[in-house]
C-alpha cells in the first residue's frame, strides 16, 4: 500500500519570505501523481499544485513550486514571497496513475500547519 509522510507538523515563516514543506512517499508503482492541497480554517481543501511522476520538470504555479525527487521519493513544496493568506494546513497526497476510472483515490499525509508571521 502507498504511504505519504509529512514529518513537519508545524512550520512558520516571516511574511514575504520563502518556506519549504517536506513530503516523502512510498510506492512500488512507476506511474503516479502527487499533489499539494491547502486546507484553510474554512475546511475546504484546495488544490495548490500537482506533479505527474513521468515528468522530470518540476511543476510551478505562481509563487508555489515543487522539488520532485523521484528516486528519493521526495516531493517538497516551496512557497515564495509568503503571504498572510497562505496560512493553512498543507497536505501532500498521492494518486495511482492507473487511468481506469474508479481508481481516483487520494492517499493523504498527516499535514503541516503553516503559520505566517506578519
Amino acid at each position: 500500500a502507498q504511504t505519504v509522510t509529512q514529518s513537519q507538523p508545524e512550520m512558520s515563516v516571516q511574511e514575504a519570505e520563502t518556506v519549504t514543506l517536506s513530503c516523502t512517499y512510498d510506492t512500488s508503482e512507476s506511474d503516479y501523481y502527487l499533489f499539494w492541497y491547502k486546507q484553510p480554517p474554512s475546511r475546504q481543501m484546495i488544490l495548490v499544485i500537482r506533479q505527474e511522476a513521468y515528468k522530470q520538470q518540476n511543476a510551478t504555479e505562481n509563487r508555489f513550486s515543487v522539488n520532485f525527487q523521484k528516486a528519493a521519493k521526495s516531493f517538497s513544496l516551496k512557497i515564495s514571497d509568503s503571504q498572510l493568506g497562505d496560512a493553512a494546513m498543507y497536505f501532500c497526497a498521492y494518486r495511482r496513475g492507473d487511468p481506469n476510472f474508479g481508481n481516483e483515490k487520494l492517499t493523504f499525509g498527516t499535514g503541516t500547519r503553516l503559520t505566517i508571521i506578519p
Binding site: L47, E104, L106, F108
Partner: protein
C-alpha cells in the same frame, strides 16, 4: 457556479445512533468521493460513487454506506455510531473524464459522537 455543498455543517449524535450526510457536487460533475478526516489527521478515503454505483472503497466497515442519486448528489450513511466516528466528513466531486486528481472539495460536515 455553485461549488460542492454539504449538509449539515455540524451535528452531534450519541453512540449507537445513525447519521446521514449529504453532498451536492459541483455543477457538471458526475462523480462523488467521500473522505473522513479525524482531528489532526489527513483525510482517509471512504468510497467513490459514479453512475449511482460504488466504484471504489477504502478500508472502512460496512457500517459506512452510501448512495448516489440520478442528479449526482450523494449521501453517506453511518450506522451504529462509535466515538471513533467523530470526524470531519469531506465530499469531493469530479468529472469522470476530467483532469486526473482535480477534485473539488466541500467544506465538510463535522460529526461529533458522544
Amino acid at each position: 457556479d455553485a461549488g460542492v455543498t454539504q449538509s449539515p455543517t455540524h451535528l452531534i449524535k450519541t453512540r449507537g445512533q445513525q447519521v446521514t450526510l449529504r453532498c451536492s457536487p459541483k455543477s457538471g460533475h458526475d462523480t462523488v468521493s467521500w473522505y473522513q478526516q479525524a482531528l489532526g489527521q489527513g483525510p482517509q478515503f471512504i468510497f467513490q460513487y459514479y453512475e449511482e454505483e460504488e466504484r471504489q472503497r477504502g478500508n472502512f466497515p460496512d457500517r459506512f454506506s452510501g448512495h448516489q442519486f440520478p442528479n449526482y448528489s450523494s449521501e453517506l450513511n453511518v450506522n451504529a455510531l462509535l466515538l471513533g466516528d467523530s470526524a470531519l466528513y469531506l465530499c469531493a466531486s469530479s468529472f469522470g473524464t476530467g483532469r486526473i486528481g482535480e477534485l473539488f472539495f466541500g467544506e465538510g460536515s463535522r460529526l461529533t459522537v458522544l
